[in-house]
Point group: C2
Chain length 190, copies 2
Amino acid sequence: MWFVSTLGYALLSLLTRGPATGYDLTRRMREPIGYFWVAQHSQIYPELARLAGAGHVEVREGDGPGPRAKKTYTITESGRAALAEWLPEPPAFQPRSEMVLKAYAANSADPARMAVMYQRIADEAGERLKAWRAELEAMAKQGYSDPSHPGFGNYAVLKIGLESQRVTHDWATWLAAELREVVSEHDGAD
Amino acid sequence: MWFVSTLGYALLSLLTRGPATGYDLTRRMREPIGYFWVAQHSQIYPELARLAGAGHVEVREGDGPGPRAKKTYTITESGRAALAEWLPEPPAFQPRSEMVLKAYAANSADPARMAVMYQRIADEAGERLKAWRAELEAMAKQGYSDPSHPGFGNYAVLKIGLESQRVTHDWATWLAAELREVVSEHDGAD
DNA sequence: ATTTTCATGTAATCTGTTACATGATTAC
DNA sequence: GTAATCATGTAACAGATTACATGAAAAT
């Protein structure tokens, strides 16, 4: 009856973890689902209003710290049903990576500078890899790796996040090394 | 002086492979860079006009098959310089994957249907993996794996595409199996 | 004192998708 | 004859970012 956008479903997913304000959701949009879906508060507030209009969330108003009321949102049965229907539909392929796009044109720029950039990417991915590996182990110890545990979704997201960082790390390391080789060959030939 | 969008740089990157029409670029936007950057012709045509306005591409007009003239675009020195400046700038992190978002809320839907969906994703990734592995090997035989070869960018993109498909395949296979386990446990308990 | 956190909203702009519109040539 | 390919464009809409705007409480 009412159209729900992908962002709307993302917010409903977050609200299955418990009631929250728009502000809360903005923060939750960072870890760990934020590694794979991002949104700013300016996008979240109007979307919550639309979800409320559709009856997919319920609002309780209270005193806020600023000039406006603080609004706490809870997912409704209608919201849960809409989410449950959307989830098993085959998801769309969404690429768009500037990191890879730049590799496509790598030999159009100074290889030394490109090597520095990809080495930095590799290092950052390596850092995240270490941190997320520890996080994933902590989750496993708390039982999140069990698919019937309510935190299983977090575990599954972090798991692919980890693997993606590993791929980024290995690929960027390889690319940086190849680019440095071009630099040294050029130096030798000159 | 003129602002160039990421799409603009993507088109300039494609044009370093040789002159092309908007139609050509729309097709080139599919393989292999299209695995990581997509665009429709409705976005490409106006962007080419803007690049021409900025002097980053040159246009030659000729007879077209339809009512309008066919336009062939060539990258200029100014275009090459803009591209070379943009390339070593650290790229933005761009997530957004419906596939992962759905895993985050996996236990809010019927696990049997979710298992089917993720199994399908795994199978499709497996197919791509096989096809791209063959493509990558063919490229390597043609010397594309050499960083000073003009086709090195294609090779690097396909390389990370392959690894990404491998990760998707393994993760979706694992997730489908976990979800099927929930189904069988539930059957046994009822 | 100043910065960060909590808390909500709007406006302007940019980016991207879907649909509309035209028409010749080539392949089946 | 019908469908696919070649070829270029616009319009309407949806999705997302950046900037503007307000203000209390808590931490540094």
